[in-house]
């Protein structure tokens, strides 16, 4: 990526006249990883009584900075200052003792113990568990946050929103100076996001310095007092409270885009991906539903497994060329749905039909033969074998099949030739087809998956969180490929927790709630409100 001279770091509308020293600050912090500079000379100040948003795409370096403040990593260069004094945050314990509480993107609670036990975690091992002081603090924080949770409930049984509230309590447990929230809204319903916003504002009003990490411009505008924009490891601009207060959302959007991408038009499309909803027109293609549905599902049910939400009742029809988006908060059965559609999990009840044929009992190999493809969300966990070469991964689902295997014997030259072709055609950035797959970047691993799944015989494709963790460019590329596949006549299911993404590419949107597909709505004018309602469990929006 070319290094464009970033707009001067001078903020838009500078000092707001506040005289208090920042409660925390980072000064010229740099952190390098193999092959990438995650943080490049970042200097920022965090003030009490202010919600400071760090806004940037995936890969901009936000999580690394937070990791440093939370004591998980050490900076290679630069200082951390607490109340003006340089400190070393050598471990999570040190971070907590300095009054910095961090809520990470993935829930860091032990599911097999209760809420109060999770909150008490951190005591020295020779101490006895004393409930009363902990309960007292729990009640304090519950009042502060305005939430109500049973302290003796097993964390594994709570909803994701409640778990997040417990996480916030845990972060504030030892003192409320700084609260860092790393992408907290990805797991929440629109209502949940709204509630979280209220919690943040209450904390801010009580004097806590709140740091909010997000890649969603809308959130930054709605919740932030101050916005710092990050790109490629650097701070490319900042909007101070006074300035922000006087700007509309559109103006803020323009300013942020200019800070990130300058005024060049070539980045306009990346910019649109950042902004998402509101800028992009909804899909206006009409889907031809005159014939038989290509893919038909009725009454799907799966067996309950420990810690996962099973399917209770899922049904929908899908026509060729159509994209159906499956929305919903994580943990409402999406994983089981993807598994069942792909053939990795058997349904205990229900029916799946492909172009009129029943395929409910078919497992993965048979479904693949029928043209069903699955781009999984767990790219390294199940989609690929990190220790194998790119070439091997590209034929991973066809082991034993013609033409790469004849009578059980491998034709490695042919496999490598096929790989080179795929690498060329899909612009996969890799030194060679023999490179170990885990050496590739996340975006390129996704390209491998897409290359493998979107082959000539694909007819129905299931995408699970297709752009999770990808930067803007790769996100855009993935969306383009999905749309192109629909143009070619494939029937597509996109499961995602990112509602903006679904609004952008789906023809219809269904919502998963507690294992049921509770409603399917057309992607038209009123869609967001209706989907939001469905996500809370209200029937028929």
């Amino acid at each position: 990526m070319n290094e464009r001279e970033a707009p001067s770091l001078a903020t838009h509308g500078d000092r707001d006249g506040s005289t208090t020293a920042p409660v925390a600050a980072v000064r010229s912090v740099t952190k390098r990883y193999p092959g990438v500079i995650a943080n490049d000379g970042i200097s920022l100040e965090f003030r009490s009584g202010e919600i400071h948003v760090l806004l940037g795409e995936n890969g901009a370096g936000k999580s690394t900075l937070i990791g440093i403040l939370a004591g998980m990593q050490q900076p290679d260069e630069g200082d951390i200052l607490i109340a003006g004094q340089p400190v070393k945050i050598a471990s999570p314990r040190a971070s907590l003792e300095l009054g910095i509480g961090t809520v990470f993107q993935h829930v860091l609670l032990v599911p097999s113990i209760t809420v109060i036990e999770n909150l008490m975690l951190g005591g020295r091992w020779w101490q006895l568990l004393t409930r009363e002081p902990a309960l007292k603090r729990f009640r304090e924080l519950s009042a502060l946050l305005g939430v109500e949770i049973d302290p003796d409930a097993l964390v594994g049984r709570l909803s994701l929103g409640e778990q997040q509230q417990v996480e916030i309590m845990r972060a504030l447990w030892r003192g409320e100076k700084v609260l860092i929230l790393d992408e907290p809204t990805s797991m929440l319903t629109p209502q949940g996001v709204h509630d979280l916003g209220n919690v943040m504002k209450r904390l801010r009003d009580k004097g806590v310095a709140v740091i909010l990490i997000t890649h969603k411009l809308m959130e930054a505008y709605e919740f932030g007092d101050r916005i710092s924009v990050l790109r490629l490891g650097r701070v490319v601009g900042q909007i101070s409270p006074t300035t922000l207060a006087g700007m509309s959302e559109a103006e803020t959007t323009d300013t942020v885009i200019r800070m990130m991408f300058g005024t060049g038009a070539e980045h306009a499309r990346d910019a649109e991906a950042l902004v998402g909803r509101g800028r992009q027109a909804h899909r206006s293609r009409a889907v031809d539903r005159s014939g038989l549905p290509r893919f038909s599902v009725r009454g799907l049910q799966t067996a309950a497994t420990r810690g996962e939400c099973p399917l209770r009742d899922v049904g929908f029809d899908l026509w060729p060329g159509e994209i159906i988006g499956i929305a919903g908060v994580d943990g409402n059965g999406q994983k089981h749905l993807a598994d069942v559609l792909a053939g990795q999990r058997t349904a205990i009840a229900g029916r799946i039909e492909l172009a009129g044929h029943e395929i409910t009992r078919d497992r993965v190999p048979e479904r693949r033969k029928h043209g069903i493809r699955y781009v999984t969300d767990e790219r390294l966990g199940e989609g690929t074998v990190g220790a194998f070469s790119v070439a091997t991964n590209l034929v991973l689902k066809e082991i034993g099949a013609d033409p790469y295997w004849r009578r059980g014997l491998s034709d490695w030259p042919l496999i490598h030739e096929h790989a080179r072709e795929q690498i060329r055609r899909n612009d996969i950035r890799t030194p060679s087809e023999r490179t170990m797959l885990s050496n590739l970047s996340g975006g390129n691993i996704q390209k491998v998956l897409l290359a493998r799944e979107l082959d000539a015989e694909a007819s129905v494709v299931v995408f699970n969180k297709p752009t999770y963790g990808l930067d803007l460019q790769n996100t855009r590329l993935a969306h383009e490929r999905i749309l192109a596949s629909a143009e070619r006549g494939l029937a597509i299911i996109v499961i995602s927790t990112d509602l903006d993404e679904l609004l952008e590419i789906s023809d219809r949107i269904g919502v998963m709630f507690q294992g049921r597909l509770v409603g399917i709505v057309e992607n038209s004018a009123d869609v967001e409100r209706r989907v939001g309602l469905l996500m809370t469990g209200a029937e028929a929006a």
Binding site: V110, S112, I113, N118, M120, L129
Partner: protein, 311 residues
């Protein structure tokens, strides 16, 4: 058949069951602590063996059984320290190191014993017995259950102690977190490495005492490879006990009975070949595993080294 119900047989069986079961109990409890914390301690057999040899040597030269148990425990802990450094500090594969430790201690103790005692094969005098007042007078079970070396009673007390410890103190909480979701423990500011290391060291100590018991009390001498799978049975007990020490006790009792069968049958005058009876405990283990397969619960982070910041 009546031969089986004689006092002699029953006393012999129960007494033998306790003697055979105590090392299993200690190994099982120890392994349970490790497994709770997320460490699959395959090397426990090696820890028991080294504890057996160390304890034997200590008692042989000092005439003190108490010292023997102490040194045995420390010996087991020493081996555990090696596992802690390699697997927990460096994150080496726990299974490979466990196999190495087991084979290594088998070889090392056999080697040491060869150079020290192979000419003489000395025996120890009878280990001290603590007869519980009153209880030891009860016919049959009195002599079988309540006239044992103090370590036996300590073992049972440990079951109660650990149960309480797991429930009422941070020990239990930290172990649970280290085994289920170490990242949560780390974020709470507690060192996962230290928690796991302490767990492994505790396991080593208990295994060492168990081994010393086998040598000093059970047999009265050290024979190379004498643990004969006791450590592995301890692992099975821990696997099936689902985190409750009292289940380890029950399992150890069960296997103790099967191990004591040979001698007891001989006492009763029934002559079943030793080898057949020797199959009994392992056959029982397999049977129990087959029947209870779906109920064995292991902590999610078992066997996986924890690296901060690893996503």
């Amino acid at each position: 058949m009546e031969a089986l119900l004689t006092e002699a047989f029953l006393t012999s069986l129960l007494f033998g069951a306790v003697t055979a079961g105590v090392p299993l109990l200690l190994a099982g409890l120890g392994e349970q602590i490790s497994e709770k914390a997320g460490v699959l301690n395959i090397g426990i057999e090696g820890m028991m063996l080294f504890g057996a040899y160390a304890g034997f040597v200590a008692t042989f030269y000092s005439d003190s059984f108490t010292l023997g148990f102490l040194i045995g425990g420390l010996g087991g802990m020493l081996v555990a320290a090696i596992v802690a450094v390699l697997c927990i500090r460096f994150g080496l594969n726990q299974i490979v190191i466990g196999i190495a430790v087991t084979i290594g201690m088998e070889g090392l103790t056999a080697l040491l014993h060869f150079f020290q005692f192979s000419k003489t094969y000395p025996r120890l005098s009878q280990a001290p017995v603590l007869e519980l007042p009153g209880l030891s007078q009860i016919p049959v079970i009195g002599r079988a259950l309540f006239s044992h070396n103090p370590v036996v009673y300590l073992g049972v007390i440990m079951v109660v102690g650990l149960t309480w410890l797991f429930r009422a103190s941070f020990v239990g909480l930290n172990l649970e977190a280290a085994g289920s979701k170490p990242a949560a423990l780390d974020a709470a500011g507690v060192s996962v490495t230290r928690t796991r290391a302490v767990a492994v060291l505790a396991t080593g100590f208990m295994a060492g005492v168990g081994g010393a018991y086998m040598a000093n009390v059970g047999a009265g001498l050290f024979v190379p490879f004498m643990t004969g799978g006791a450590g592995f049975i301890g692992i099975v007990l821990a696997m099936l006990a689902r985190g409750r020490p009292v289940w380890v006790l029950l399992g150890a009792a069960l296997f103790g009975i099967s191990l004591a069968m040979t001698t007891a049958l001989q006492v009763a005058g029934i002559n079943i070949p030793t080898d057949v009876v020797q199959m009994l405990p392992f056959a029982m283990v397999m049977l129990v595993l087959v029947v209870f397969a779906r109920h064995s619960v292991l902590p999610p982070a078992l066997g996986l080294p924890y690296v901060r910041g690893d996503r």
